[in-house]
């Protein structure tokens, strides 16, 4: 940042020496005393595991005391000075960037060099492929198929009667517990008859229906169910779906229903899927 010229001194416009007073010295001394005591308190508080309220207050007092002391000491020691600095003007293209003159031009060789550098740069993008997931994982589908058992997050199978009227349960395919895209919400409707476009033949009984739990708007879990209005609700952006009418969107930003999962009961009385979802799962893929 050094200047080229040897013009060192300050161009002082105003110089004012604050009136000396005993007050400032007292304030600085008192602030320093507060700082020392507070800093010691802070150290002890941290070492003894005292409350964060004490630790934070002590640290704040120590720093605030120091800040006050610095601000009050400066006018006791130095005058207030106002000064002006010249702005450096650009010197224009007459001034060379270097004093070593080229002896040849070789434009073609320069271009070849730049191109070679470009190839190196592009080649260095290839290792980005390391970020990519293993192929098998990228092509797995939803994991639901005919006969896949519905299990709770604990891995236990679930029977139709395990969901009380007006209740919901989150389930996964038995071979994909915790797989977000496969999460299903079991809903037992109460006091309302399911209607179009619900696939009645995909329900168990006349009240147990299953939908994808992944909101078709932004992918949050649709976690809340209002029994009175049979509304499924996503807390992220207030997407609402009518569970008695094929999870059709009723409010907020979603434009597609939650896809329904065809349900059946296996020989042991546990719930199984009768196939994959009736539509695309989750938010739009561009």
């Amino acid at each position: 940042m050094g200047t080229s010229e040897d013009e060192e001194g300050l161009d002082i416009l105003q110089r004012r020496v604050p009136a000396p007073g005993p007050g400032n010295a007292v304030v600085v001394a008192a602030a320093c005393a507060v700082t020392a005591i507070a800093a010691a308190t802070f150290a002890v508080a941290v070492l003894t595991g005292a409350s964060v309220a004490l630790q934070g207050t002590a640290l704040a007092a120590a720093l605030a005391g120091l800040a006050l002391a610095v601000r009050r000491l400066a006018p006791a020691v130095f005058p207030h000075v106002e000064t002006a600095e010249d702005r450096d003007a650009p010197e224009g293209s007459d001034v060379p960037l270097s004093d070593v003159e080229p002896v040849g031009r070789r434009p073609l060789l320069r271009r070849v060099l730049v191109a070679a550098g470009g190839v190196v740069g592009l080649a260095l993008l290839a290792p980005l492929s390391a970020l990519r997931p293993p192929r098998a994982e990228a092509e797995r589908g939803t994991g639901w198929a005919r006969g896949t058992r519905l299990v709770m997050p604990t891995g236990e199978p679930i029977a139709a009667d395990d969901v009380p009227p007006g209740g919901i349960a989150t389930v996964f395919p038995s071979d994909g517990v915790g797989r977000e895209i496969a999460a299903v919400l079991l809903v037992r409707l109460s006091g309302v008859a399911p209607a179009d476009p619900t696939r009645l033949d995909w329900m168990v009984g006349d009240d147990l229906v299953a939908y994808s739990k992944v909101c078709t708007h932004a992918g949050c879990p649709v976690g809340l169910f209002s029994e009175r209005t049979s509304t499924l609700f996503c807390p992220c952006h207030q997407s609402s779906f009518d569970a008695a009418r094929g999870a059709t969107p009723t409010f907020g930003p979603p434009s597609r229903p939650l896809p329904q999962l065809p349900l059946a009961v296996d020989g042991e009385g546990y719930l199984i899927a009768a196939g994959d979802f009736g539509g695309p799962v989750g938010p739009a893929v561009g």
Partner: protein, 434 residues
């Protein structure tokens, strides 16, 4: 200066010839107006973030594998938790000073982003982005974006239920990108959500972003040093040639030191009083679980708002889908960022003023600028409010549906109206400082 310090400085000077550059630096002029300190607040809060962040990093474990937490937290003792979440519970309950430094880190992150925004507003409103400072404006805007990226990645490091929800929405936004959605989302997350995101988020937050911020801040300050500050107009001073103010040494140094210490005291006191994102407030993220209070940090509330109020429209065109998350969560933010980068050049087209500009302008001097700022600010404030439309509905005793529709109507209409009104007001006032 004490003799000891003097002797040490002499020793140093004899070896690295420091005296002349040090004196040049000490004589560097700083304008006295408070608004020139906003950038310093950003700088000091970044320093606090780095210092506390180094401490936090030592206890953080970016793995989601389940472990049993066995520390002193009454809420989590004996529970199986994702290791990353457990490491923050341990930091908060079992590490000396851990809770304090975590809270200070969070508080400083809010200050950092807030100060960057305020500093940007000062620069835009006074025309300090004009030639010759366009480059430093572009660097500054980049620093704001990096700061927001740091805030977002840091918000998600605890892997609590807020983080899980916010990461799931990021995954959706990446997925919505036309043609490239799937490779982008799977590539960024290393698999289908949640993939292997935590180690990646960790290295981005503790290494890549702070490294970039530190580097760009250094360049920002070096350019500032070469160009000097802009100058509020003053009679008898040709602001185009000279900058007036206090030299760095001694009063300005005392002021800046006081500011840094005062900022430290403020965030420390706030950490004593406010449970900034305490680990006890939200449980760990579990797949397919969320909470009613799911929300991003305040500086991304506007994205939340646009996702909420976007109408239920999704259409297929040219083999891809144009969805709400794409338009509201990807294209609109990108458009705003592009507008930010292009602004100095757009304004110059509208108001061609040849030559360099070193004297600050009144915020209402250029109607085009007053209108642009008013439009963007009203848009962002409205969208931020829309991110809390349910809370607003409850407070006003209205239905969420009517509040939603009010925002759907206001968001496209109010910003252009505000821009037009502010420009007309500025034109009528004809205010200028010079």
């Amino acid at each position: 200066m004490t003799p000891l310090v003097g002797r040490m400085l002499d020793t140093l000077d004899e070896r690295v010839a420091l005296r002349r550059p040090a004196r040049h630096l000490a004589n560097k002029v700083f304008p006295s107006h408070w608004s020139f300190l906003l950038g310093e607040v950003a700088l000091f809060s970044f320093m606090i973030l780095v210092a506390t962040g180094v401490f936090l990093t030592m206890f953080y474990r970016p793995s989601t594998a389940p472990v049993v937490y066995t520390g002193t937290s009454a809420i989590y003792a004996g529970r199986e938790l994702p290791e990353v979440f457990a490491s923050i519970v341990r930091l908060s309950h079992d590490v000396d000073g851990g809770l304090l430094f975590r809270r200070i880190h969070r508080a400083s992150s809010h200050v950092f982003i807030g100060a960057c925004i305020a500093h940007l507003l000062r620069v835009v409103l006074t025309g300090a982005f004009r030639r010759p400072r366009e480059l430093n404006y572009l660097i500054g805007l980049t620093l704001l974006l990096l700061a927001v990226g740091s805030g977002y990645s840091g918000h998600n490091l605890p892997y609590d239920v807020l983080a899980g929800t916010s990461l799931r929405i990021l995954y959706t936004l990446l997925l919505s990108v036309p043609y490239l959605g799937e490779p982008l989302a799977l590539g960024a997350f290393g698999g289908e959500f949640p993939g292997d995101i935590m180690p990646r988020l960790f290295v981005v937050h503790v290494l890549a972003l702070p490294g970039l911020i530190a580097g760009l801040m250094t360049v920002h300050l070096l350019i500032l040093g070469r160009q000097t500050h802009t100058q509020l107009p003053r009679t008898g001073i040709d602001g185009a040639q000279r900058v007036v103010g206090e030299p760095l040494w001694p009063w300005q140094a005392a002021r800046s030191t006081g500011l840094a210490l005062g900022l430290g005291a403020t965030v420390a006191l706030s950490a004593a009083l406010v449970p900034w994102s305490d680990v006890d407030l939200h449980g760990p993220f579990e797949i397919a679980q969320t909470t009613n209070t799911a929300q991003p940090d305040w500086f991304l509330f506007w994205v939340e708002g646009v996702l909420r109020i976007y109408p239920p429209i999704e259409f297929h065109v040219a083999g891809t889908v144009v969805s709400g998350p794409l338009v509201g969560g990807v294209l609109l933010p990108l458009a705003l960022v592009a507008l930010g980068y292009a602004y100095p050049f757009l304004e110059r087209r509208r108001h061609p003023e040849p030559g360099d500009h070193h004297v600050a302008q009144h915020p209402l001097q250029i109607p085009f600028r007053a209108g642009a700022v008013a439009g963007v600010v009203v848009l962002l404030v409205l969208l931020t409010l829309a991110g809390g439309n349910d809370v607003i509905a409850r407070l006003l005793g209205l239905s969420t549906e009517s509040v939603l529709w009010a925002f759907r109507i206001a968001v496209p209409l109010a910003p252009p109206l505000a821009a037009w009104g502010a420009a007309a007001h500025a034109r009528a006032q004809g205010r200028r400082w010079t």
